[in-house]
């Protein structure tokens, strides 16, 4: 059995952890500073008054004058998601992190420790902060478990035994199937609005119309789990090095931020775990004076040392607007590797350095002479015993 621990409106619930007094009123989640002002998510109270994600904040405020906006806090969200995963990992060795606010737990072999599925679900619920309003669904596959969790109310556990899965899923909307948005829209246009309607078609018809994704959707709708659905893939535990720098004076200028970035990178690389090593990914978080945060993830093409990482972050920060007054910086480094050398390209100098002017020159020559006077060598019959048959020149058309 697989349990799905679900926290709907995860980002909004995390924001409410800091301001619990706002719980229960019409709320919208706005973007972090510097991003497009639109509704990222909204509370059920706001949805009831016509607010929808994607709406501009100005439009939402005009619709509901007493609407309250809370700002998204990505750094806090990451911390809460990590805590959630760690708490569940105490109960089962197989915990998979899905999208933020969704975790799958394999309950196989935990009966003696956690009890029957519903009791196990209550253990899982108890491991999560109640203010997040978690809920748990238990079923033989991940899709059915998620559907069960989505159907139930917060703080409750819903268990769907294997024989009941097809009947319990039949009434659910077809839009819940893991399909591309355009495929979901097409299902709706074809009048296939419930999983029961999808299942009423032959599997071959779904496969013929929508390909492998359609066939998988049909299987999930009928309660047949494939390997991906029936397996919980535990999130790998990768070593992480973190460093934090509390700034003596709040930073507002880009130059001061670069100096701070350099110092926090140096501080992280002084840790014994990083001695003589390089990293592939960095997550930089800026903790703002108003209590919110802002973060950027930098994935490097190849492992980098402290100097190159600081330079890479500085280059990235050059093109973005500083989100506000920064009180502290924290850096999280992952992908730690013992890279000692860089692999250079053998034929790097052979690539055309300025292909665009070359293409333009050929275009002009073609206009002048009617045909491109530039040729390239191509193989015709490289196996031929007659030498002039082996290769030929063909007109080069860029």
């Amino acid at each position: 059995m697989i349990a799905c621990v679900l926290v709907p409106h995860f980002s909004l619930r995390v924001a409410l952890l800091v301001r619990p007094e706002l719980d229960g009123i019409p709320l919208v989640l706005g973007p972090p500073a510097g991003q497009r002002a639109q509704v990222i998510d909204c509370s059920p109270e706001a949805t009831g008054r016509g607010i929808r994600p994607g709406m501009s904040l100005r439009e939402a405020a005009a619709l509901v004058p007493d609407l309250v906006m809370v700002e998204r806090d990505p750094a806090h969200e990451s911390d809460v998601a990590a805590e959630m995963l760690a708490s569940l990992a105490d109960l089962s060795p197989l915990v998979e992190a899905g999208v933020p606010g969704r975790c799958y737990v394999d309950l196989s072999g935990t009966e003696r420790l956690l009890g029957a599925p519903v009791v196990a679900g209550e253990h899982l619920l108890a491991a999560i902060t109640p203010a997040l309003r978690p809920r748990v669904g238990i079923a033989p596959g991940k899709f059915a478990a998620w559907a069960a969790a989505r159907q139930t109310r917060s703080g409750a556990v819903q268990h769907i035994p294997a024989p009941d899965v097809p009947t319990r899923l039949a009434t659910l909307p077809a839009s819940w199937l893991p399909l591309a948005p355009e495929t979901g829209l097409l299902l709706d246009q074809l009048g296939l609005r419930t999983l029961g309607a999808v299942v009423s078609l032959p599997k071959s018809a779904m496969a013929a119309r929508f390909g492998p994704a359609g066939e998988r959707a049909w299987r999930l709708a009928v309660g047949q789990s494939d390997t991906t659905d029936a397996t919980v893939y535990p999130t790998p535990q990768t070593p992480i090095v973190t460093a934090r720098l509390d700034l003596p004076a709040p930073v507002t200028s880009r130059d001061a931020l670069f100096v701070a970035v350099d110092r926090v990178v140096q501080r992280a690389f002084r840790r014994p775990e990083l001695r003589g090593r390089a990293v592939r990914q960095a997550r930089l978080r800026a903790h703002l004076e108003d209590g919110t945060s802002w973060e950027r993830v930098l994935a490097q093409r190849e492992p980098v040392n402290a100097k190159r990482l600081a330079r890479g972050i500085a280059l990235r920060l050059e093109s973005i607007e500083i989100p506000g007054i920064i009180a502290a910086l924290s850096l999280e480094l992952t992908g730690i590797t013992s890279a000692v050398a860089r692999q250079e390209l053998l034929l790097a100098d052979w690539r055309p350095r300025r292909p665009q002017p070359l293409v333009e020159a050929i275009r002009q020559l073609k206009q002048r002479y009617g045909a491109s006077p530039i040729y390239r060598i191509t193989e015709v019959e490289p196996w031929s015993r007659i030498p002039e048959r082996r290769h030929a020149l063909v007109s080069f058309e860029p």
Binding site: A371, I386, P387, R390, H391, A392, V394
Partner: protein
Amino acid sequence: MVTNPRAPARAGELRALNQPVPVQAFGQRPDGAPRVVVERGRQVQVEEVCDTWLVEDEWWRKPICRLYFRLLLTNGVIRTVYHDLVEDQWYAQEYGT
């Protein structure tokens, strides 16, 4: 059945590479190799015949019959020439592998 349009097949902008170049060669050694080859208007003696091979092909169309020689000339240059046994003409052509 598709009728033959009788139009010559077009090879687009294809230009064959390594076309044979007519050369003048005189004398004949017992193995059929020349004794003298004309290089840039000057007669150069053949020092040694490094290799010899025969290419016969396309007997069903326009027969090709070439007797190739890899020659070391007295000026130190290695030259590949062939005797076209159909036309009785000499050509220079790099053969490669």
